[in-house]
Amino acid sequence: MKSWKHLFSGLVLALAASTASAHDQVPGEKQQHPILLKGGTLHTVTQGVMVNTDLLFSGGEIIAMGNQLTLPDNTEVIDIQGQHVYPGLIAMDTTLGLNEIEAVRATRDSEEVGAIHPEVTAHVAFNADSEVIPTVRYNGVAYAQVVPQGQLVMGASSLMQLDGWNADDAIVRAKTGMHVQWPRTYVVDAWWEQRTPEQQREANAKALDTLKQVFVDAKAYYDAKQADQLNAVDVRWEAMLGLFDGSLPLYVHANDVRQLEQALDIAKEYGFQLVLVGAADAWRIKERLAKSQTPVIFEGLFGLPNHNDDGYDQAYRSAGELAAAGVNLALAYPGYWDTRNLAFGVGNAIAYGLNPDKALAMVTLKPAKLLGVGAQLGSLTVGKKASLIVSKGDIFDPLGQDLSAMFINGRKVTLQSRQTELYHKYQKRPE
């Protein structure tokens, strides 16, 4: 029959006790028995908010949501009355696991030399033991797209789950997209810019030509390969083949409206699956973006005005304006340690007009779909992975967010980190 193993909601304490002595955090064990989260408010993403509803998962997958569920033997019941369940957040455009200490060169693995290195792939250098990762989980981020950095063609990103033993263990999907830092289109009058506007425009045009040539060359390689006419392998163009057969999206990192338009035009010319990242000026062309349904990952959640004459709140309200216009929108907070502020950034967008009912999808299901894992992740749906977080309050508000649990594929993930350990250590210092 049913074996009720009733835990109190103080799950954090239990987990804390189990890991407090470890220097590093031990990845969660594979789910051993079914777990029922009882009485929580489920933010399902696809089926609205279900108040006081139970959620049952087993073997790493959600198997039922509702009340009066029939529980398998051996089900662990966790009472989360009054708490909220969300899908684990997915952070797009990060360098988690690639960078550890920004100012220490030896700990940076995000940016390869040269302007054109499509052949590099992010997960190769992913440090699953980065001390930064647990601190980001603490705020509800369960997955991260890890992206190589660079000046032009940056390389391929990978989707990682944030509780792995090593890079191979953490990888969810390799090569989620080819990333391009779009060449500058604007001219600036700033202290660091030593060139005249004309010189800047020339350099901008030249950089765009360089990028266009990359696409020409990669396409030539693709065509030759299709016809079995290659002389030899070129690892750069090999890495870009997927752009031309539609299997690899092109992520364009760009903010200025001219960059966005150029990217749209060129993507159309080649038939690329385009994703715009950054997109500070997207509000200026929201109708076009809505019409084309080009995915946009807006990053300026706390942005300063991109131009002197923009309103102080332009970046704050951009997400709301884009969503209201029907743009296919996801949200991100780029970086690595600071990516933990992703949920608060969404809160700010809500404060300035983003519909709160739609906001959650922009950091869960929308990213999951872009990453090709929409069928497994991104919502609380029966059959999907049990990758979810439990918070005592609204995760988008620092006054509410307070995680009591995180599960990735049904595995209990510790919310402890080097930071909580230091906190606990110094709490113990005698006065």
Binding site: A351, D397, P398, Y426
Partner: protein
Amino acid sequence: MNSRASIGAVCGVILALVSSPSKADQTARVNGITDNTPSFVAFQNATIVMQPGQTVEHATLVIRNGLVEAVQRNNQAPQGARIIDATGFTIYPGFIDAYSDYGISKAVKPEHTDDTPLYNNHREGGNAANDAIHAQQQWFSEFETQPEQAKQYIEQGFTSVQTARQDGIFQGQAVTVSLANNIANDVIYRANSRQFGSFDKGSSRQQYPSSLMGSIALIRQTLSDADWYRQAQGKQYYDAAVEFNAALKALVDIDKQGMIFRVNDEKSLLRADKLFDQFGVPVSYVASGYEYDRIDAVQATNAALIVPLNFPAAPDVDGRYRAIDVDLAKLRHWERAPSNPAVIANAGMVFAFTLTGLEKPEQFWHNLRRAMPYGLSEKQALAALTTVPAKLAGIDDKAGKLVPGYKADFVISRGDIFQQGEIYSVWLQGQEHVIKSMDAVDFAGHYQWPWGSDQTAELTLKTSPSAELSLTINGEKWRTDKLQVQDQQTTWVAFAPNEQHDAWRLALLPDSKHQFTLELIDPQGQRQHVIASRKPLANEEPEQQPSKPTFVSKLTYPNRAFGLPQLPPRQNVVIRHATVWTATADGVLKDVDVYVENGRFSKIGKALSVPAGTQEIDAAGLHLTPGIIDEHSHIAIDGGVNEGSEAITSEVRIGDVVNPDDPHIYYSLAGGTTTAQLLHGSANPIGGQAQVIKLRWGATAEQMKFDAAPPSIKFALGENVKQSNWGDDYTVRYPQTRLGVETIMRDGFQQAIEYQQRKVEYQQLSSAERRKTAPPRPDQRLEALLDILNSKMFIHSHSYVASEILMLMNLAEEFGFRVNTFTHILEGYKVADEMAKHGASGSTFADWWAYKFEVYDAIPQNACLMQQRGVLTSINSDSEDLQRRLNTEAAKSVRYCGMSEHDALKMITINPAKQLHIDEHVGSIEVGKDADFVLWNHHPLSAYAQAQQTWINGRKYFDRDIDKQRQQQVAAEKNALIQKLLATPLEQRAGAEHGYKEAQPLWRCETEHDVWLHQAQHNQLMGAH
């Protein structure tokens, strides 16, 4: 030396040697034939402008031996004078440019032999200890006549200039010279004129100063040193005889020399004026063209201005999106720059014009004529070219007027030079520099002559702005070619309609003023002459006084998007039914009224009765908190946040470089922040003095300062000051370890103590001993350290790791003072007990970490742990971004470690107020305190909170509803300016390419770059001097 100029000079010498008899000068022998051509000339029938406001018509100007002898109102020329008929000409006194580098070679930047920073300069000849100071230089000794360079001035009507090498901070004494092509001995009008200066260290490679505030501090110390040197020269100092110092010696009488000081914008003009006023140095400023931005403040300096006419080129707004790169401020300046001279004139200021800043000297008259319709009178303009610069250049006893005994320096123009007049001839020291022959015939007109037996030829000839002609014979237009208008003839070639080969050569030759002979050479080569009658050209565009131009742009404070038309008024107002977060022991009060009167909170309570007619705000559903206070900000700073050159720079002051135009002031107001401590950066162990401001958007820099705040200063520890992340060139400055950080501070304090002792000892000397003994040299750097030792100036120390925090507290205790606040203090949680015991407070980031090694142990629970252990704790921004949202930064302590919400709010209000020692005035909602407050639409720490209104001292500086309107107004005004610009013909869009202010960087704690070095590169790029 400019190579073109030197070639010109060489040519001049060759000509003189080979072909010319020499004029006898007073000390050189003539080799060859002596030139004794008389220089006794009378200009008859002239309009003579003797000085601004005094014109005589139909008069004769008599000059002899280089001087004006007489202005004959009866138009009589003296016997024996060479007579020049000046009918139709106007004669003006020669123009004077009081700010020039004519005849002086340019500074040569020392070659970069290696990239190791240079901390001490090479000492020679009693020079100053800083390479940007060459006050002892007397530029007459380097002056050499440069005819080619002079031509650029002369062609605009200038006859003399005040000149020096424009390089460095104290640039040396200028020399005022004539532009005549004579040897230096003859053209020097005043050998020792004004001292030139600027804030820019110029070609100096020395590290110090690397910032605007460093330059200001260096000027302050140098003027103080000059004052000391006046008393100390020749006496015994405490450890040796007083040194010989040529630079200080040269500045001893700076109050009599006076200065000509060049500034980049009106803000620096105000800064310089405040600085020089303190030392009683009379200064005139080379203006920036932006004076109209804050003319009232500029006018209040009562200084004379030397005004450039480098109106900027129209920004490029063509194409689909280029207008995005051009902000409203730029468009406004494009429209208003030509009005700047008139604005200055109408403010009643004394001003002169200069060619400085013009990329092409020939733009001068074009631009001056553009400036006049804005309300500049001819008299004012002429004064700005003659009498005023004469005075500024110290030659008003000999130049600038056409009166007997003055130099025969003048300009002859056909017509009114301020209208359409054209300069024909410029006379310097009684010698003519011909630009255009005064005898030249004006050929413009309609001509007619008979053609064949019964036909008529008609010709229309225009000579300006360019020569054009149209020839019609018997109603048919002929094709013409090869038109040449010369002084005494005009020639061209003509072809009959549809004729390719048979060319007619034609020429107009004057018989008298109105009758001309037409010479024709027909296709067969036969020459004929006929009389051509001329009628004047009809004025197709009737000459009308241009009406005063109208502006599309607004003028706001600051003059950029979202500036205010004026400071918001102080209002008495009652806020009803608010949820009030007091930041006092009263906690959060629900449904309470707050009455603001005369800028202060006057009553707080339920259902307050207030005077009838008091403005009410219904704040039901709103939250009212104190204005947010930021302990650590770097916004609103001009010209560098770090004087990071030397390890100790306690003499520099952020208060000298407050930038009231920074839009982040407005953005921060929109996030509820009302007060900020602007801190020096963290590039050196003992940095500069801080400035607490209230974010009074629209005010001047001085008005923003919060005068109740006591002095404070930035210290810094760890990686930044030991230059860990500065690159491989920066490994020579002491200290390079945390060990040395302690000792350099210790050494600094020890020096300060000994300095104090010397002052005391000097006071105790008898008057006889004082006559032999030099007083201690006032040292601004050590004075600041003394203030710290005496607990009059409070330390805010950038710090991260436990060891360095303990170090500074131990050091302070050893020297008998306390560290006021540790800022950043990310490991404060490890030593919170020690901090509490010492009495140091902590101001930290909510959650920053991992950006460098010393922050690897940072934790977001730091604020909680410090607070729990009794440390007065605040959250700061150190960022123009976070300064807009400190409320949610404070909320992170609720999130990460369960701090109470009211305590979290205190971390951004009353706690930082206490750290800044301004808690008597601000930081909480209490009767009697400044009415600095924010109205929020939501719980003020929530992600969903939006500041609706932000008030400072009872004035509303931000209102979200007004902001919405303003956003639309900015867009509309910008569009109107773009429309105006696009409708402006291309040729009228030309102007100076670097005529706009350069954007200020976003300063961060660690932003360390040499602003002067950067400016030099920028100027070089833009082709400026």
